[in-house]
């Protein structure tokens, strides 16, 4: 047969290889698609393991097969965007990360690729049982497109052993100004080599996540509920002025300890005493620096003014049902099973430290259990106490643009501060902030289709 093929042996084998691999791909693809009635995609390994553990129960109850896919977050976002653009198959349910839904909700509402869950959520009776501020991230023009997975309240983790040694009383750190005063006392060069060896807190010198967390605590958001830009605010100026003084200059009390191994080393060395710790990060610290077990504790964030908010928020995940799903009701059942299943939420908290927004779960024993890593503190109860006070965060497709401009304002302020000190700094920041907000508004005003609801 090969000899009779008119173009020779090599083209024959190439053709055979192409045909067989193509058929194999086609066959396995069909098989995979047939295997599941519902498909769920997630980017978080911990969620994936937790869901895998409980999905058999859902399958038994509903006599269906659920497929679950673990995909890297960036790949999941890109694939989902492309699949929706090309109208190819998408999962029935998708977990989305903080900041990613804006892309999908930028156009007219009819074009949003996710099912509108507003009515379902209202009718289910769950809405009131969930921390209200957490819906903001997943809404557009009053419509809810995903259900929040977590609260991510922020506390401060601190080296309790060192803090005690230095005579710092936690109850005296009521405001950020109190915190800065104590910080100025303890941040110093210990061995006389001209390099500061102990800082009060781990904060990035370029602003970034540190500034964001503090701005949110103070009630400053990049965008308001109607998607309007809202960071040009006197509170932003005040926060930047305070922050600049703490992270720059010879009297700074903060350094950036980084992530992963550098952070673990900095924490072990006691380079900084306090660390910004949303619930998810408290778990990272637990796993990354096991040698500090029993030496760390958590405290609420100092407030901006006495009696003010003692927490902030950092990050978030939501679960959405795609419009393309042919089993919307079943997908909704699965969503409820995964997010409002109190039997499971306790176990999930114990293995992640992540506080769910479903308030019923907070009374579970796992939330009251002492955590030996954090010196026996009842971690769940501490975070849950702050959870209802977490600020709302409204997402926008222009979040990255706004963050970039805000970073620009901060760094221009920093350059001015480094060169001229505090004199005239407020005016510089105010001017830059107004220009930055105008820029974001100009970019947003180009959106000719977004207004068509």
């Amino acid at each position: 047969m090969i000899e009779r093929f008119p173009y020779g042996k090599a083209p024959f084998w190439l053709l055979a290889l192409a045909l067989s691999s193509g058929l194999l791909l086609l066959a396995t693809r069909q098989q995979a698609a047939r295997a599941a009635d519902l498909t769920l995609a997630t980017f978080a390994v911990q969620h994936y393991s937790a869901y895998q553990r409980i999905l058999p129960e859902f399958e038994r109850r509903h006599h269906v097969k659920v497929g679950i896919q673990l995909v890297d977050q960036r790949a999941l976002q890109t694939r989902l965007q492309n699949a929706m653009l090309a109208h190819t198959a998408v999962p029935d349910l998708v977990e989305l990360i903080d900041g990613s839904i804006g892309y999908f909700t930028r156009g007219p509402l009819k074009d949003v690729g996710f099912a509108d869950l507003t009515t379902r959520m209202a009718q289910s009776g769950y809405r009131e049982r969930i921390v209200a501020s957490r819906f903001s991230k997943w809404q557009s023009r009053g419509h809810l497109f995903a259900v929040p997975h977590d609260v991510h309240p922020v506390m401060l983790a601190y080296r309790a052993d060192l803090v005690e040694q230095l005579g710092i009383r936690i109850d005296e750190l009521e405001t950020w100004d109190d915190f800065a005063t104590v910080g100025a006392r303890v941040s110093k060069d210990l061995n006389g080599d001209g390099v500061i060896d102990r800082y009060m807190i781990d904060l990035p010198a370029a602003g970034g996540w540190g500034l964001n967390v503090l701005l949110l605590q103070r009630g400053v958001e990049l965008f308001g509920p109607r998607g309007e830009v809202s960071f040009d605010d006197p509170r932003t100026v005040d926060t930047m002025l305070w922050y600049l003084k703490q992270v720059r200059g010879p009297r700074r009390i903060a350094t950036e300890c980084g992530w992963g191994q550098p952070l673990a080393k900095a924490m072990s060395d006691g380079l900084a005493l306090f660390y910004i710790a949303p619930d998810w990060r408290s778990y990272l610290l637990q796993t990354d620096v096991p040698s500090l077990s029993g030496k760390l504790k958590l405290m609420p964030l100092p407030a901006w003014e006495k009696g003010g908010r003692r927490t902030s928020v950092w990050g978030g995940t939501g679960l959405a049902i795609t419009k393309q799903s042919r089993h919307q009701d079943l997908a909704w059942e699965l969503l409820k099973f995964l997010y409002f299943n109190t039997n499971e939420l306790g176990k999930r908290f114990a293995s992640t430290n992540i506080v769910p927004p479903f308030k019923d779960a907070w009374t579970l024993p796992e939330f009251q259990a002492p955590n030996s890593f954090y010196s026996g503190q009842r971690l769940g109860a501490e975070y849950a106490r702050l959870a209802p006070d977490t600020p709302a965060v409204w997402d926008s497709p222009y979040t990255a643009t706004a963050e970039g401009k805000l970073s620009e304002v901060f760094l221009h302020g920093a350059q001015y501060f480094d060169a001229h000190g505090e004199q005239g700094l407020r005016q510089v920041i105010e001017r830059e902030l107004t220009a930055a907000q105008a820029y974001v508004q100009r970019v947003m005003s180009r959106n000719v289709l977004g207004a068509t609801h």
């Binding site: 390099v195 010198a205 222009y398 970039g404 180009r446 959106n447």
Partner: protein
Amino acid sequence: MNTPKQYYRGAAPWLLLAPYLVVTLVFTLYPLLSAAVLAFYQTNGPASRAFVGLDNFGFLLSDPVFYRALRNTSIFALCSVFVQLPLSMGLAMLLNSGSSGWKGVFRLILFSPNLVGQIFVGILFSVLFTPRYGLINRFLHALTGWGLEQQWLGDPALVMPAIVLTALWVYVGFNMIFFLAALQGVDKSLEEAARIDGANRLQVFWNVTLPSMRHVVVFVVITSVIGSFQLFELPLALLPTSNGRGPDNSGLTVIGYLYDAAFNVGDLGLGSAVGWVVAFVILLASALQLRLTGATEET
């Protein structure tokens, strides 16, 4: 009338070419035309588009952030040509001059960073650049008293040098291979003749060696400039918390700007317009290089 055998022979070239033609048509020509059309539209989310004429180009040309990205990318391209390539050439000459059996080992060592990919290199260097504990600050501190707490990836003035340093580690060895191959093809008798005529080492290199490998040099310079204008993964991996932008957009490249417009904001039209502007800039830069090196004057 054609016999079946003659028919097969007549159709054979087309049949053999067909897969290539189909792939080129579907994956190159169609997207190219589609992108050209898209540049005059604004897309909003996944499903809507509106004709906006030249508005995308008008916006780009008046956007200070785009100019910042263009400036960053141009600085990187200049560093590639004037820092990276001379280093590659120097290493190639070093390897070409000796006769040691270690040559192959050094060649492999210098080329190997290229095998691991930009994302891995970016992650690795983000650790090396860590203030206080990072090896780079430690090394420089021991050598020159450089500040231990220098924020390579947090200080806008240091972000581009950090990206250039990282790229040097990856690409110096890669370009060295081209230069080494070209050096090995240089006619030794010409160099010998120049030396007999009294030329010193520098004169031999400048007047004999370099002109003999001119085609390779022009090729490497042009591909380096094109590669520089496509820089994307390295800043993204080095500066993950700001999506590769860096503080004050100091790490933002034109492709980073394109990605942001098309895939974070969701305006594929603006993304396409950026793509065309970048293509035009690359075309201009390449034409200029060909003109300056006189490569087009030869047959």
